[in-house]
């Protein structure tokens, strides 16, 4: 792994107020340029975990570091710069009702001080890509649910952020558009953006060969991408084969149908998805 991950969680726990711990002992890295899915049943804490990542909530214990820096000791005035390097698609969109689609999407660029002449065409192109080329002047209230979701996605990716955090970004669009959006994320990832997508859509998860983080009962379980699992399985089989050859006659090693554990924590494996 990269010596300096974009985000590192170290024994992080989180609770709301005096409630129970929603997240417990999370320890993981998001390596630079990586792509991962985050799944788990409704209410498992996916949004809460993402909120920790985009610094909208503070952990109740543990250490989160961001580009190698401890988030807890980050001075307030460095926050804006950091936020500009992160794009977020919120589960509930959070568009600004008084701005049209174009201005909503252009917002991060304006805040970053870019000139309209510079970005106007890029924004238009991006909106066309997500199928909203003819809705640039519409206000969010006049958009369908899926259209609003696509505006939220466009706003998150328009600045080509270093990290993209998307919470259920395809919950309101049809499967075809979902694939299209996933392609957009993949494209962005190829250009170097670290991506984490929380989703319930297993169809989507199966589309990409990416690691899947699964939350359940507050614990995180990370399943490596299929390719890696295959490689590991082959390695295990090869080893078993070698063992068998070396020490025959012995019981054949049973084929592991359990996911190899990539993280070193001892969480329960959560639900299996296929």
């Amino acid at each position: 792994m990269d010596p300096e991950p974009v985000i590192r969680f170290d024994n992080v726990g989180m609770r709301y107020g005096r409630g129970p711990e929603i997240l417990r002992d999370l320890s993981f890295d998001l390596p630079r340029g990586s792509f991962q899915f985050l799944t788990g049943p409704s209410g498992a804490g996916k949004t809460s975990l993402l909120r920790l990542i985009y610094l909208a909530a503070k952990p109740s214990r543990g250490l989160i570091s961001y580009f190698g820096r401890d988030a807890a000791t980050l001075p307030r005035n460095e926050l804006p710069d950091l936020r500009r390097r992160v794009g977020v698609v919120f589960q509930e969109f959070r568009l600004l009702g008084h701005m049209n689609v174009f201005d909503n999407v252009a917002l991060p660029l304006r805040v970053a001080g870019r000139k309209r002449a510079d970005y106007a065409e890029d924004v238009a192109e991006l909106l066309t890509w997500v199928g909203l080329g003819d809705k640039m002047n519409a206000l969010p209230a006049t958009l369908s649910g899926g259209e609003q979701q696509r505006v939220a996605i466009a706003r998150a990716v328009v600045g080509q952020p270093e990290v993209l955090i998307a919470d259920e970004p395809t919950g309101n669009v049809d499967p075809e558009m979902g694939m299209r959006l996933l392609r957009l994320f993949a494209e962005l990832n190829k250009l170097g953006t670290t991506i984490i997508i929380a989703t319930h859509d297993l169809q989507l998860v199966r589309m990409l060969d990416a690691p899947v983080m699964t939350l359940s009962n507050g614990h995180l379980h990370i399943r490596p991408p299929r390719s890696e699992r295959l490689r590991m399985q082959e390695a295990a089989e090869a080893e078993a084969e070698a063992d068998r050859i070396a020490a025959a006659p012995a019981a054949a090693a049973p084929r592991s149908s359990v996911d190899p554990q990539a993280s070193d924590d001892d969480t329960d494996p959560g639900q299996s998805d296929d």
Binding site: D122, D134, V158, L184
Partner: protein, 310 residues
């Protein structure tokens, strides 16, 4: 990043981005802020009216005390073997020679008689009644006449003259004037305070409906200063506009009141249009103060909201 996606299969042509300037970062103040606007305008209007009224009371009270302080009366009593009228003229001349005296007029017997008529009835007094004659003296304001020296001079002339500096009334009038002024200032303070409080609260309420904007800007990486500045400017302009509306209306009302003829004494607490710079300063400052109040309370509210976020 989109430039690099451009190479990919894209079926529809890209439409032109909307022309025109950037959309406003804050919602236009059209519908939502109208209550704040109206409330602020009404209160600025009231505060201005109170200010002009207080000014009127102040001026009137000032006038009283000035009248009192810049006038003296010399009573020249008729004495055996002296011509009272000549004495009065002489006293007037002597007084005029004093430093600080602007005018000294000797009043004749008719004047003295006229003063007594209400009390004694007309035609009641014998013609040879020895009446004291009066000399009205008007001094330059701010100057104190050396009445002792004047009395000495008059005594030296051998007249039976007495100087009355109205000390008898002065205290009562001064107290009355002071009360009027305090009352005016109190009313002004009350209304200005109420206006400020109302504007501040209304600005806060208006802001509460916009937390989503703060939220979005904050998460996009806008600096606190930038966000607070946006709201501050917006609310300053709002307060300013409301203030101008209120002040202009107050000016019009006071002008109308001044044109109508209220009895001079009672016009006292009416907003007065003395047409001196004070009115303009007051009416010009009020909107600015309203704007500042709105801006500062908005800034504080935004800052406290932002501090609560990380």
């Amino acid at each position: 990043m989109t430039t690099r996606i451009r190479g990919r299969a894209m079926t529809n042509p890209i439409p032109k981005p909307p022309s025109g300037g950037n959309g406003r970062l804050l919602p236009p103040d059209a519908g939502r802020d109208r209550p704040l606007f109206v409330v602020a305008a009404i209160l600025v209007f009231l505060a201005c009216i109170a200010g002009l009224g207080a000014r009127g009371a102040w001026l009137q009270a000032q006038r009283w005390t000035t009248d009192l302080e810049t006038s003296l009366t010399i009573q020249v009593r008729p004495a055996e073997g002296r011509d009272a009228e000549a004495d009065a003229d002489r006293a007037a001349a002597l007084t005029r020679a004093m430093p600080g005296v602007e005018q000294a007029t000797s009043r004749g017997r008719d004047h003295a008689l006229a003063l007594l008529t209400p009390w004694l009835g007309e035609g009641n007094l014998p013609d040879d009644l020895p009446l004291p004659l009066l000399v009205d003296v008007r001094t330059r304001s701010g100057v104190t006449i050396d009445t002792a020296a004047l009395q000495a001079q008059l005594d030296a002339e051998g007249m039976a003259a007495r100087i009355d500096d109205h000390g008898r009334w002065a205290n009562a009038v001064r107290r009355a004037a002071g009360t009027a002024q305090a009352l005016g200032l109190g009313l002004l303070a009350l209304l200005a305070g109420a206006a400020a409080a109302v504007i501040a609260f209304a600005a806060r309420a208006s802001l509460a409906a916009r937390l989503d904007v703060i939220d979005a800007l904050h998460l996009c990486g806008a600096e606190d200063r930038f966000i607070a500045g946006l709201f501050q400017r917006r609310f300053f302009m709002l307060g300013l506009k409301a203030g101008v509306a209120g002040a202009v209306f107050a000016g019009l009302v006071s002008l109308l009141v001044s044109l109508g003829d209220a009895p001079a004494d009672m016009a006292f607490f009416l907003p007065q249009w003395a047409s001196d710079p004070f009115e303009f300063v007051l009416l010009a400052c009020a909107p600015v103060l309203a704007g500042l109040t709105a801006a500062i309370s908005a800034r504080l509210a935004v800052a406290s909201d932002l501090r609560g976020r990380w």
